[in-house]
């Protein structure tokens, strides 16, 4: 085969795969979202947006993302810096920290449910040490704050490692000489982090943040396990439209809204963390 055609031949399988399993379903979903009895319309979008649960599920999703992602960013940066500095046992620590990645999000939700529910570990422990007299219903509708906190904790536990892995790889790409130069020219460890690590880590931060923010808008199983119907989010609403209400047009419309939000945030992150031409490592 001619060398000019070879690259196209090599990307053909993955292109086909994406067309069949991504592009084609996407077109179907769009058709459902914009379709109606009499041709194209925005009817499903109007229905979805005007439903009383839409604002609250949107608010919950955004609040959760706003609470979880910054904490995860800070934590993963801290953990990545620590791992990078380690001389020995680095791989072991990295494996242990990434274990939650190997657990499905529903299983993770159930693990944290086992901690927070009325007969769970937390209650048994607190009763055991005499902090409270009888088990408390942490996750009941009377404690929306605790439900939010439990979901946020579970999400942080479950999904920080995905950012960690990306950032560890990114920090590994920064040549050591930059840190030595910064040190010789008077930068303190904190200044070296702010003035060398962070700016040189921008490409990895972009990837990690986009991945994490998009996943945060798709949060579902953990929320369902811990909050049930007490804490509606966008994804649980899509589920409800599709399976409880059997309204696949509305489900598709809401799915496209989530996609639009994800695209907007991706563009914002790309713009905010862009690296000027000529300023790459």
């Amino acid at each position: 085969m001619s060398p000019r055609l070879l690259p196209y031949a090599l990307i053909l399988p993955v292109t086909l795969f994406l067309c069949v399993f991504f592009l084609y379903p996407f077109i179907l979903v769009s058709q459902q979202a914009f379709g109606s009895a009499d041709g194209w319309s925005l009817e499903h979008f109007r229905d979805v947006v005007s439903y009383w649960k839409f604002p609250i599920s949107m608010q919950n999703t955004l609040l959760l993302a706003a609470a979880v992602v910054p904490v995860q960013l800070a934590l993963s940066l801290l953990m990545a810096t620590m791992v990078t500095r380690m001389q020995k046992g680095r791989d072991l620590v990295l494996y242990v920290w990434t274990i939650p990645l190997g657990i499905s999000d529903l299983a993770a939700g159930i693990i944290w449910l086992a901690i927070f529910e009325q007969s769970g570990f937390l209650n048994s422990m607190m009763v055991g040490i005499g902090a409270i007299d009888s088990p408390m219903p942490f996750l009941s509708y009377q404690n929306p704050g605790i439900i939010f906190l439990a979901i946020a904790l579970a999400e942080i536990w479950r999904a920080t490692a995905i950012m960690l892995v990306i950032l560890v790889a990114g920090i590994g790409l920064i040549p050591k000489e930059y840190y030595e130069a910064a040190e010789v020219f008077g930068a303190s460890p904190w200044q070296r982090f702010l003035r060398v690590t962070l700016p040189l880590l921008r490409p990895s931060l972009q990837t990690a943040l986009i991945l994490r923010v998009v996943l945060a808008f798709e949060v579902f199983a953990v929320v369902v396990a811990l909050g049930g119907s007490q804490f509606p989010v966008l994804m649980s609403e899509i589920y409800a439209y599709q399976f409880d209400l059997q309204n696949s047009g509305a489900a598709a419309a809401l799915a496209l809204i989530v996609l639009a939000i994800s695209i907007v945030f991706t563009l914002v992150i790309l713009r905010a963390l862009r690296v000027p031409k000529g300023a790459t490592i």
Partner: protein
């Protein structure tokens, strides 16, 4: 313009390294180094890779901690101080010009860290940039610069600090040959002008000879000889130095005692040291021999015309010896010639201790 780069002359920046040693695990990288470098001196640490020269430089910089020993700069003990408190600046082998900062911010990096006011930063950056001829590049990023331009930024960044001591770790080794020659001359001029004490690490003997006030030749974690370039070249203190410097290096022949102050070299009797008894190494530089009626009997094995002269490899009593001879000579492999060493250029080494014998 250039004059104001001179630092305060009261501020003496002599360096003393006292009994410094460094071990990495079981590996002894430096053995008890003692070295004094005078204020404003240009000292080159010369040696093959792995000889410990970079480790020594990094210990002076504070990027590495000595296992034992002391480092003094300007009469102040600094080995317990952070690099920024030692009055040093450094030029790194791979330049370490920050890719995310413009040339201006790179040169001003240390000044910003020292919380210098903006107008002073601007003044110093512009001055050192014009000194290094990169004033037109101040707004660029390092990705838009050539290797030589990055090198200039790295030197300007160090000079902008107006340090007592400037440390350079093989700063020219990543440049191509022509650029290296140009930067070498420029570095020498700029550093002499700034009256800064300089320590320069290199494995390139030509670079060392051309830049240094003094060269410290290092080998296996020790300083073998610290002296002026011409002294190191003419009077090597040890056989290692003689063989390391010079291209081609010094020739060595075995010499047997043949009487008081007389030595037998390849069947010829040569005047030599009086004290020694055991066999010595007779040593002569390739350019210090010429063809004569009397001299070491040699059979030509290889003739390499180098334009200005001939590089002739001959067999002298079973040892290969190289001579740099006049290019007008017509020599060919197999010719029998006599090579007369210039008597005042002959050196002697003890094969046991490898040290020079007077």
């Amino acid at each position: 313009m250039r004059g104001d780069l001179q630092k305060d002359t009261n501020d003496m920046a002599e360096i003393q390294i006292k009994n410094v040693a460094k071990t990495f695990g079981a590996y002894q990288a430096l053995h008890s180094i003692d070295l004094a470098i005078a204020d404003q001196e240009f000292m080159v640490l010369l040696g093959a890779s792995g000889c410990g020269k970079t480790t020594l430089l990094r210990i002076i910089a504070g990027l590495e901690t000595a296992s034992i020993g002391e480092v003094w700069i300007g009469g102040r003990r600094v080995d317990h101080l952070a690099p920024k408190d030692r009055g040093i600046a450094m030029v790194f082998q791979n330049y370490a010009v920050f890719p995310h900062l413009t040339v201006f911010e790179n040169i001003g990096f240390g000044l910003r860290m020292a919380k210098m006011p903006n107008d002073e930063v601007k003044r110093r950056v512009e001055r050192t940039a014009s000194l290094m001829h990169i004033e037109q590049l101040l707004k660029r990023y390092s990705g838009e610069l050539s290797g030589g331009q990055r090198q200039r930024v790295a030197v300007a960044r160090a000079l902008a600090m107006e340090p007592d001591v400037i440390l350079m770790d093989e700063p020219l080794s990543n440049l191509d040959a022509l650029l290296r020659l140009e930067m070498r001359a420029e570095l020498k001029g700029v550093l002499a002008e700034s009256k800064t004490t300089a320590i320069y690490v290199t494995h390139d003997q030509v670079e060392a000879m051309s830049l240094a006030d003094r060269i410290s030749v290092m080998h296996q974690g020790r300083i073998i000889q610290a002296a002026s370039p011409i002294e190191v070249y003419r009077n090597p203190a040890a056989q290692f130095v003689a063989g390391f410097l010079g291209n081609p290096p010094m020739n060595f022949l075995r010499a047997e005692k043949a009487g008081d102050g007389k030595w037998n070299v390849a069947g010829e009797t040569v005047d030599g040291p009086r004290g020694a008894e055991a066999p010595l190494q007779f040593a002569i530089r390739p350019e210090d021999m010429q063809i004569a009626d009397q001299g070491l009997p040699a059979q030509v094995r290889l003739v390499e015309p180098l334009g200005a002269h001939l590089l002739v490899t001959c067999d002298v009593d079973g040892t290969m010896l190289r001579a740099v001879l006049d290019s007008d000579l017509s020599l060919k492999a197999g010719d029998h010639i006599k090579l007369a060493p210039q008597p005042d250029r002959v050196r002697w080494f003890d094969p046991e201790t490898t040290k020079a014998v007077a």
